[in-house]
């Protein structure tokens, strides 16, 4: 209803005229407040549920009591049977099908099904209303409203003014739509996926809280406020990765994610301090306004700011060298992986760079570093993805790789391309993760029936699932085509824009190339390298995605006779989000089709480049900086080469996978070795980076900590105790004079009297 009304309003206002300044936000605080409300309600329900569940605790020692979690490859149970969250509702349900597991569920487990997706859909509606208004008005400046003053300090040497303020502009609007839109779908999916889990209300509470913080991140009008969301999503990620906390590996993964993220947060903090020390403000609008005037183009300060921001972004968005937490984060429930670790949170770093576009434009060196690190991450993670067997791990490395693409884009100054890929990636990667969730869900259910101890996430154990899970197959297939960069699916357009930007840069046509030239670096070689590396990464992407699809959905089914009977599609809550996301993956790319590009020009997309025009006000500051410094890019001559190469590589990768694998008889995990030769072994072990970090960083810090603890105990405290001991010894030594003999004392007094008398007489 609201939408319809708004559409009407929009129509009338559009008719009234193109007054650009007439944008009036519609209760944007509701977008934040609704998920928070959901969190509070679900949190209360979860506490109620947890307290009520307590008396029914089974005796300790029951092997099934600790086992409520989703198995990942690290877990090997004597019985892999009850391992799925949806397998049975309560703790004793694994074998005994007592009434408890099948009775009507208590309100604490039914209400979240409505509350959690409900608040999200409502928030999405509010976001859409605001979007329509913004579409009508298309304001040139951001809409900022301060609700209360957060941290005011009237320092005479430079006041700090940070308000609890919401900033609505085209970028945050887009992010909000993605978060609430994809978020709503994943919430719906979660209802189907998690409703049998005993911790269901808690899960939904965390998920709502996550959305709240994510929205704070994108809607906050200043860096500190963004930081609130930044750390808040980290917290939720931590809680959700460790959602099945009884398994130590899950809790460890959550902890790892949080600590690695905190390393990034350190960079974010320092960048903020640098900004404040140099500009005296932390609000976006003021920073972007003052930065060009108060900081030198390409200077040390702005470069340092950007590099520290990038450290923060690298932590949050899993870039080299801080990417290691993301694959481990797959320990969380699969919808969490879809929402947090694919669609939204991990893209926060890209958002940060895009939001700070003005600063990054001013710092060409930092931008180049961003682009290079992004590229390196893209190809590095893609190569690891080639040899993973766990379906979620493949997707995880794929995510890292795709994030690398995004950073390459924003690093090269192609902010729109980065944000565009962010958006399409949110669609197809969410679709892939949810699809993998549906697969795992089905696999578990099947394996559960026969108490098989096969790994439900290993693609070697699947095979031929397209017959049993047709909806999942088709939607995942579309998403695979999208990520592989097959036209006309969404990923093709966005990825093409990125490689196209690199191609342009290699020809010296990017503003960044001019900027680099200005500080004395020849960027064209670097851009050529980036283009080549990204192309190879895209090829790898197509290959490992094809490999994953073939292992999962094609060929013979390898689950076994009995299990096969139980393989079936899940409920509509599982399939509906898949379908919607597949549609978005199909058509999402048309949002930013370039009009004048060869091949694409054959289709008529009207004006084209809608996203470019949409985001133009946000990036105006960056453009101005570029112009002011005379580095605005030369007119780009569209070239067909990168597009053709991209199409060829995408199709080629898929084709290679097909030719290599479709004819072969695939074998199960028990039969097929994890790796065959040295190269595969290194890839399978992810280049041993985790091991390296463990040796170099974790153990060193641990060793230093223990050393310092010893130092504290024995040296610092030892010195204190030594002081105490000294006085004790002194006491004992002097105590020897206390003979207990009155004569001695008397004599001592006598001596004293003599001395006093002597002094008395001789003065």
């Amino acid at each position: 209803m609201l939408l319809l009304q708004e559409a009407a309003v929009h129509a009338t206002s559009a008719a009234a005229g193109q007054a650009g300044e007439s944008f009036a936000a519609f209760a944007p605080w509701l977008i934040l407040a609704l998920p928070l409300l959901g969190f509070v309600l679900n949190g209360l329900l979860s506490i109620t549920a947890a307290r009520r569940a307590l008396p029914a605790l089974p005796p300790v020692g029951d092997p099934h009591w600790d086992a409520h979690h989703e198995p990942s490859e690290q877990e090997h149970h004597a019985h892999g049977d009850d391992a799925h969250p949806a397998a049975h509702a309560d703790d004793h349900g694994a074998h005994g099908h007592d009434a408890h597991g099948h009775g009507p569920k208590p309100a604490t487990h039914t209400l979240p099904s409505f509350i959690a997706p409900g608040v999200l859909i409502a928030a999405f509606a509010v976001a859409v209303v605001n979007f329509l208004r913004m579409l009508a008005a298309h304001p040139e400046t951001a809409w900022v409203h301060e609700y209360w003053s957060w941290m005011p300090v009237n320092d005479p040497t430079g006041a700090l003014r940070v308000g609890a303020a919401i900033q609505l502009d085209q970028l945050s609007m887009l992010m909000t739509l993605v978060i609430t839109g994809v978020g709503s779908l994943i919430h719906v999916f979660s209802v189907g996926y998690m409703k049998e889990d005993p911790g269901y209300p808690r899960y939904m509470a965390y998920l709502n809280l996550f959305v709240f913080f994510m929205l704070t991140l994108v809607l906050g009008a200043s860096y500190p406020l963004m930081f609130v969301g930044w750390e808040g999503v980290g917290l939720c990620s931590y809680l959700l990765i460790g959602f099945w906390f009884k398994e130590r590996a899950n809790a460890d993964a959550g902890k790892k994610a949080f600590i690695v993220n905190r390393i990034g947060d350190f960079g974010f903090l320092i960048a903020m301090f640098l900004l404040f020390a140099n500009l005296g403000t932390l609000n976006f609008a003021e920073v972007m306004e003052r930065a060009p005037a108060q900081m030198a183009f390409g200077g040390a300060v702005v470069t340092a700011v950007c590099l520290f921001f990038f450290l923060g972004a690298a932590g949050k968005s899993a870039q080299i060298p801080l990417y290691v937490w993301l694959p481990d984060a797959m320990a969380g429930p699969t919808p969490v992986s879809a929402l947090i670790h694919a669609a939204t949170m991990v893209t926060a770093g890209v958002y940060l760079v895009a939001r700070s576009a003005t600063l990054f434009t001013m710092a060409p060196v930092a931008s180049l570093v961003v682009a290079l690190v992004g590229t390196a991450t893209a190809i590095f993670a893609a190569s690891i993805g080639l040899k993973q067997w766990d379906i979620k791990k493949i997707l995880a490395y794929s995510t890292v790789s795709q994030l690398g693409f995004m950073f390459a884009a924003v690093g090269m100054g192609a902010y729109v391309a980065g944000v565009f890929h962010l958006m399409t990636h949110a669609f197809f990667k969410a679709c892939l993760f949810l699809g993998s969730g549906a697969v795992i869900h089905a696999m578990h259910e099947a394996l559960h029936h026969t108490h098989s101890d096969m790994d439900a996430q290993d693609v070697r154990n699947m095979g031929g699932l397209r017959r049993y899970l047709p909806v999942t197959f088709w939607t995942m297939g579309i998403a695979t085509l999208a990520i592989a960069g097959v036209p006309p699916f969404a990923g093709f357009f966005s990825k093409d824009e990125i490689t196209g930007a690199a191609w342009d840069g290699a020809h010296g046509q990017l503003p960044l190339a001019a900027g680099l030239a200005k500080v004395g670096i020849d960027g064209t070689l670097w851009f050529g390298l980036i283009w080549g590396a990204l192309s190879i990464a895209a090829f790898m992407t197509a290959f490992y995605m094809g490999r994953m699809m073939i292992y999962t959905f094609f060929g013979q089914n390898r689950t076994g006779e009995e299990e096969r009977k139980h393989l079936h599609e899940g409920s509509w809550t599982l399939t509906l989000p898949l379908v919607v996301l597949a549609l978005a993956s199909t058509f999402g790319g048309f949002l930013n089709v370039e009009r004048e590009v060869p091949i694409v020009r054959w289709f008529d997309f009207g004006q084209g480049e809608a996203l470019h025009r949409w985001l133009h006000p946000v990036l105006a500051g960056a453009d101005q900086v570029a112009e002011a410094n005379g580095i605005a890019g030369a007119a780009v001559e569209p070239s067909a080469v990168p597009i053709a190469v991209a199409i060829l590589l995408g199709l080629g990768g898929l084709a290679l996978a097909w030719t290599m694998l479709s004819r072969r008889a695939l074998r199960t995990a028990a039969e097929e070795p994890a790796y065959a030769n040295g190269v595969e072994r290194v890839l399978y072990h992810k280049y041993y980076v985790d091991e390296l970090y463990d040796r170099v960083v974790v153990r060193t810090v641990g060793w230093l900590s223990r050393l310092q603890a010893g130092f504290d105990r024995y040296v610092v405290d030892g010195l204190v105790d030594f002081g105490g001991k000294m006085s004790e010894w002194l006491g004992v030594a002097l105590g020897r004079f206390q003979t207990g003999q009155v004569n001695t004392y008397a004599f001592a007094i006598l001596i004293g009297v003599t001395l006093v008398l002597y002094a008395f007489v001789h003065t």
Binding site: V60, W150, G158, G232, L235, F245, K246, I259, L274, G724
Partner: protein, 543 residues
């Protein structure tokens, strides 16, 4: 309402806040073991209720006329009679008037929150000891109440003698709290605590007397008044001032505690009963930083501003932050871990103070408040765990989120508040400190900011090993979750932590004038330290 306003503008309220717990201590002791805790609870709640309106009636720019408090002697070359005292609710009653000792107390924005923190923690501590303390109850609660009175006295004293008396008065009940109701090595811990802090304060006593006699010799007046100690006439040579500052600073550094003087703290915390740990971490440590802010720096501004002093303070603060965090990370004892985190947090306060700008100082004051909420919460939680399992060893726990979910939720919350997650008091305060420090000492702030990483590094493994992982032992499963009493302890802390994290403005506003005044006094000793009411030119010193 007018009556109330009048009451809270008057001088009696602070005296009441000191005297009432003392009377309450007597009452708790007299009523006997059976009803001592109820008496203490009533006293605590009344104390809290009486103190809370101070928050609302407090006027950040409020002053007392000089006739109420301040200089006693008329024979000054300055026209000091025109000055007002930037404190409110002042009292000045002669005590040993011949020696210039008066019972002078007053409240400003800095002491306001320390007093409120103390009065807030008092009823919570009584509740926290409700079932924890089983023997010698009446003595315990009498000690607790006397301790509170002493702490309030420290924070409102405006007479150096009175301050010193309260400062030492705090030691005695604390000594007994640790030594009588503590753990296995309680006597060692109590003696160490007492001797270490007492030894530090003796240096301060010497310095106080030195300044007293110097002021006496210069002006001919005997006064222990806080304001007379800042008498511009009593100039010291650079060396004198450095030594005096060092004497004060050492006393406070032991109390804070700053890095090499911190080793009494883990022992004291581990051995102390819950209430003892709570008040130790919550307010006693703040007495040290408060001493820096209120006394050491304003009394000896030149020494305190000397590059050497600032450098050492910064270095020790940063060492405290990083070193204590790393040491905390490998502690097998949860209480010891939290004790070391206190050292790290107080390191931030030191940075904020010695950054010498308003952002840093406000941040330091906020850390003092925020740490006074989050760390007591952690200690309360550990105490609740101890009551159930009789252990503080991290290895003994695991999986508590399954058996006592509410407890685990609270633990995670307190841990997050402690490591400074945005939205909690910890973030606002540490952010301000680091921001302020960065403005003057960027590299120090850079190092100190790694504290956010180390905070996660020490806190998360503890939380994981206690609340998460598998539920291995039956002892951890068959324990009751938090009851209403325990929730009543924790929820006020939760609310306040969130409030300060989300809307710290009321706190910052109230502290700002006092903080600014402190920064102003630091310029040089030759300027009158207070805002003159009348004509400044008329008050200029005669050559």
């Amino acid at each position: 309402m007018d009556f109330l306003k009048h009451l809270y503008e008057g001088p009696g309220i602070l005296t009441f806040l000191i005297a009432f717990p003392l009377l309450g201590a007597l009452a708790a002791w007299l009523v006997g073991d059976r009803s001592a805790r109820a008496t203490a609870l009533v006293v605590g709640i009344v104390e809290l209720l009486v103190s809370v309106p101070l928050f609302f009636t407090f006027d950040p720019t409020g002053t007392c006329p000089q006739s109420v408090i301040g200089r006693q002697n008329e024979g000054l070359p300055f026209a000091f009679s025109q000055l007002t005292v930037p404190f409110q609710n002042c009292t000045d009653a002669p005590w040993f008037a011949d020696w210039g000792i008066h019972f002078r107390i007053g409240l400003d924005g800095i002491s306001l929150f320390m007093v409120l923190l103390t009065t807030l923690l008092l009823p919570l501590m009584v509740l926290g000891s409700w079932t924890y303390i089983r023997d010698r109850q009446r003595t315990f609660y009498a000690m607790l109440l006397a301790l509170t009175a002493g702490v309030v006295g420290v924070f409102v004293a405006l007479d150096m003698f009175v301050f010193y008396v309260f400062w030492e008065l705090v030691l005695i009940p604390m000594y007994f709290l640790i030594g009588v109701w503590g753990g296995k090595e309680r006597v060692y811990a109590a003696v160490k605590f007492f001797l270490y802090t007492a030894a530090g304060s003796l240096l301060m006593l010497v310095a106080i007397l030195y300044v007293y006699f110097r002021v006496h010799s210069v002006t001919g007046m005997s006064s222990f008044s806080y304001f007379d100690f800042m008498n511009p006439l009593a100039a010291f040579s650079a060396r004198e001032e450095a030594l005096l500052f060092l004497a004060f600073a050492l006393a406070f550094a032991v109390k804070v505690p700053i890095f090499p003087f911190h080793t009494w703290l883990p022992h004291a915390h581990v051995q102390a009963p819950t209430a003892g740990s709570v008040i130790l971490a919550g307010v006693l440590l703040k007495m040290g930083t408060y001493g820096f802010i209120r006394f050491a720096v304003p009394f000896f501004p030149d020494a305190a501003h000397a590059p050497g002093a600032v450098k050492w303070a910064m270095v020790l603060g940063v060492i405290g932050i990083i070193y204590a965090a790393m040491v905390a990370a490998v502690q097998p004892n949860a209480k010891k871990l939290v004790a070391y985190t206190s050292v790290a947090h107080l390191g931030f306060v030191i940075l904020g103070i010695f950054a010498y700008n308003l952002i840093g100082l406000q941040g330091a004051l906020m850390v003092m408040i925020g740490h006074g909420l989050s760390t007591p919460m952690l200690f309360f939680l550990l105490g609740m765990l101890y009551e159930r399992r009789h252990s503080y060893e991290i290895e003994d726990f695991g999986g508590l989120a399954a058996s006592i979910p509410v407890f685990a939720t609270m633990l995670v919350f307190a841990a997050m508040a402690s490591i400074g997650l945005p939205g909690t008091s910890g973030f606002v305060s540490e952010f301000l400190v680091l921001l302020g420090t960065f403005k003057t000492h960027p590299y120090v702030a850079l190092l100190a900011s790694t504290g956010v990483i180390f905070a996660a590094y020490y806190m998360l493994p503890m939380v994981q090993k206690v609340a998460f992982n598998a539920l291995r032992s039956p002892a951890n499963r068959d324990i009751p979750d938090l009851d209403r009493r325990e929730l009543a302890i924790l929820l006020p802390l939760v609310v306040l932590i969130l409030w300060i994290g989300i809307y710290p403005k009321p706190f910052l506003d109230r502290m700002e004038p006092a903080a600014l005044r402190l920064l102003a006094t630091q310029s040089t000793r030759l300027a009158p330290p207070m805002q003159p009411m009348g004509d400044v030119a008329a008050a200029a010193p005669n050559p």
